[in-house]
């Protein structure tokens, strides 16, 4: 495929299909998979039988790397980040990695500084502050 050569998440080149798709933060995936796991448990006595390795590994992974545990906090994170005109992909990288400084945030998501967008350092700093507040009061 010709499009594959161009792929670069740092410049937000992830293909039209994924750019339009909804991205999920690890903590959101944890909520979804938890619910799904419960449903499977109700359906059969031995859910481990029906669960694929991919499901199991993903569940372990998102549980280990979820920054926010409770549902309200997860919703708030998305709400706050969505005020900053970020692409879905950028929003989720920030939500997953929770950078602490402006430099770190730009290193994690280089695309927030490009394309002449309105992201001044002050705006980024405010965004990071808001994020750390949620974590503090969770």
């Amino acid at each position: 495929m010709s499009g594959e050569e161009e792929e670069n998440a740092a410049e937000l080149k992830i293909g039209e299909e994924f750019l339009r798709a909804k991205c999920l933060m690890n903590c959101e995936v944890a909520l979804i998979l938890d619910r799904k796991y419960e449903q499977l448990q109700q359906l059969s006595d031995d859910p481990t039988n029906q669960i694929s390795q991919v499901f199991e590994k993903s569940m372990q992974y998102v549980k280990r790397f979820s920054r926010y545990k409770n549902q309200d906090a997860v919703r708030q994170v998305r709400e706050i980040l969505s005020r900053y005109q970020l692409a879905e992909f950028e929003l989720c990288v920030l939500g997953n990695l929770c950078p602490e400084t402006v430099e770190e945030a730009i290193a994690m998501v280089p695309s927030i500084k490009r394309k002449g967008r309105i992201h001044e350092d002050d705006a980024i700093e405010k965004m990071l502050n808001d994020l750390s507040l949620i974590k503090k009061f969770e």
């Binding site: 992830i14 994924f18 499901f55 280990r64 992909f89 990288v93």
Partner: protein, 177 residues
């Protein structure tokens, strides 16, 4: 990164399943067929969350099987080149180390580990800085950047680096004790 995407698939159903529970049968078969699979384009399908639409079935001549176009939403995991994510170290050797981020395996070669980290063999092979303050071993959590992906029919494999700003160990299980 995990995505919530809408996919389509043509499902073939045996005539013995036709009846009041046709839809349930179809959904169960879809989950069994699709969950846990991996394609180069969409990545790993982790879980189906919703079946959006089941189109009109088409009877196949000669066999009696019916093909239904099914539209469903699922959680998929697709790694991208340039993406930064966190992973758990699973194996360390002198060539580098392997880490796992959900279903995907990532290899970090020793050329892409900072130069001041040296390989130490032994019971618990690891990479350690000369002053011993930072250590990468099995079960360490690292933050890495994906610099290459190799797509197989049934697997995606990634090459990563920790030789950049803000990358490297985030949590070392041995350090706490």
């Amino acid at each position: 990164m995990f995505f919530h995407i809408t996919l389509e698939r043509n499902m073939q159903l045996h005539p013995r399943h036709f009846g009041p529970h046709l839809r349930e049968k179809l959904v169960a078969k879809l989950m069994k067929d699709v969950e846990g699979t991996c394609s180069g384009r969409h990545g790993f399908v982790v879980a189906i969350t919703n079946v959006e639409d089941i189109g009109k079935g088409l009877i196949r001549e000669g066999t009696g099987f019916v093909t239904f176009p099914v539209k469903y939403q699922c959680v998929a995991f697709r790694p991208f080149k340039g993406e930064i994510l966190e992973a758990v170290v699973t194996m360390v050797n002198k060539m580098g180390f392997f880490a796992e981020a959900g279903p995907v395996q990532i290899f970090v070669s020793n050329h892409l580990i900072p130069d001041d980290m040296e390989f130490q063999s032994g019971d618990m092979p690891n990479y350690t800085t000369s002053d011993g303050s930072v250590k990468i071993q099995k079960d360490s959590e690292v933050r890495l950047k994906i610099i290459g992906t190799r797509v197989d029919a049934t697997e995606i494999f990634c090459i990563g680096t920790i030789k950049d700003d803000f990358l490297g160990v985030i949590n070392d299980p041995g350090a706490a004790s």
